[in-house]
């Protein structure tokens, strides 16, 4: 069954240029629609590799990914089930795995959150970033396998492999989200959840507007400096189109205060989250524009104490692969009692006192 492949002996950079002739996988595309390419996968890969090669700096900007991964783990805990095989899609520096080895914030004495997880497969195209924390002690506390992907849009796994697929802060760099979600649906076992979180809608709107105004004034036009992001409204449709059932989508805003725009941009760069839009202006942002954007950001969005807030809007999504045995929503109008009555039941005594 197994065929001998020399792929592993080709250096990574060359390997990326070779076509994957032997790979035939399930993928979908909207009929008739041309494949849109917005982000440069090569550029993103390079940025992540470069960022991760400076281990110290890269670790110092893990605050966002760790926090988001931790919140995602809490959502995994909400599902009362054992997951023998889990895939962490777009693992970055294996933040989810590390967060799983920590105890839950709500019940700190109950041991690590990873009790119900068997093997976690961390998959990411960037080898350096993926293996950055491979020597840290948490690797011994969880059964982790690191898989370097050839591209972030092709999942080299058999159908019905995983009991859960998690994804934290990497879906926003994927060009063909419908296809990747359909592939995720395909590799999940029936009645298994996909739990993901991605950057969405109004993330970094302060930086976006400040740079736009600065460029308009300095250069008389606007070029793309922040990615176009999926909106909350789109996610439900995307998941449904990929064949998921029982969807849950919710959003969460994390606002981080930065001393100035330069530290914000430096942090984004150290995360490997710099601009990778194909239509971007090559080369750095003009110095005049940076200088102008700093002033505009401060004036337009700045806090009273002089710090600059940066909003990260996170979209959490949960979808289940359909299965015959799965619990189905009841039909409309079959409810036996009113939720309104139930919620107001507890309120009534309190209202009288106030």
């Amino acid at each position: 069954m197994t065929t001998f492949s020399i792929r592993a002996f080709i250096p990574p950079l060359t390997r990326r240029c070779l076509p994957l002739q032997a790979t035939r996988r399930y993928a979908v595309q909207a009929p008739g629609a041309p494949m849109l390419e917005i982000f440069s996968g090569q550029q993103k890969w390079m940025q992540k590799e470069r960022a991760a090669s400076d281990t110290e700096t890269s670790r110092s900007v893990d605050y966002l990914r760790d926090e988001v991964a931790s919140r995602l783990c809490e959502r995994v805990l909400d599902i009362n089930r054992h997951f023998p095989r889990v895939l962490d899609l777009g693992a970055n520096a294996c933040n989810i795995s590390r967060m799983l080895t920590l105890p839950s914030e709500e019940t700190p004495d109950k041991g690590p959150r990873s009790k119900r997880i068997g093997t976690i497969t961390a998959a990411d195209p960037s080898e350096t970033l993926l293996h950055r924390d491979a020597d840290l002690p948490f690797n011994k506390e969880i059964n982790i396998v690191r898989d370097v992907l050839t591209t972030s849009e092709l999942l080299p796994y058999e159908a019905n492999t995983f009991d859960a697929v998690l994804s934290s802060l990497s879906l926003h760099w994927i060009n063909d989200l419908p296809s990747v979600l359909a592939q995720v649906n395909n590799i999940l076992k029936p009645d298994s959840p996909f739990i993901g979180v991605m950057m969405g809608g109004d993330s970094l709107y302060e930086l976006r507007t400040a740079l736009q105004l600065a460029e308009l004034d300095r250069r008389g036009g606007v070029s793309t400096h922040t990615s176009p992001l999926a909106d909350v409204k789109d996610i439900g449709g995307l998941l449904q189109k990929a064949g998921f059932n029982l969807l849950t989508v919710d959003i969460d805003d994390i606002v981080v205060d930065f001393p100035d725009t330069f530290s914000l941009m430096k942090d984004l760069q150290a995360m490997g989250e710099s601009n990778a839009v194909l239509a971007r202006e090559k080369g750095g942002i003009h110095r005049d524009v940076l200088l102008a954007a700093e002033s505009i950001y401060k004036e337009l969005h700045g806090n009273e104490d002089g710090t600059l807030p940066a909003t990260f809007r996170l979209i959490y999504m949960i979808g289940w692969k359909p299965s015959a045995s799965q619990a189905k929503p009841l039909e409309r109008g079959t409810g036996m009692f009113s939720i309104k009555d139930y919620l107001e039941k507890d309120k009534k005594p309190g209202e009288g006192k106030e």
Partner: protein, 72 residues
């Protein structure tokens, strides 16, 4: 080997010293931010840039403090 100062760090330190000019320029854009056109706040920006350029020059110790005290 001392760590190399990145250009963005130099830009950040120099820009931080020009808060007055920066705020004037920011207010100028903010006054009409729905209708920004090229060089709308050119004068304010030039003042900001001038300040930034002066501040970003390497410090030259012309008549440093101890010399002037000697003269006195």
């Amino acid at each position: 080997m001392p760590a190399r100062t990145r250009p963005i760090d130099k830009l950040a330190t120099a820009a931080a010293k020009c808060s007055t000019e920066s705020s004037v320029y920011g207010k100028c854009i903010f006054a009409d931010y729905n209708n920004v056109r090229k060089d709308m706040c050119a004068t304010e920006f030039l003042k900001l840039k001038e300040c930034y350029l002066v501040r970003s020059l390497p410090k030259i110790e012309w008549g440093s403090a101890d010399q002037s005290t000697e003269g006195v």
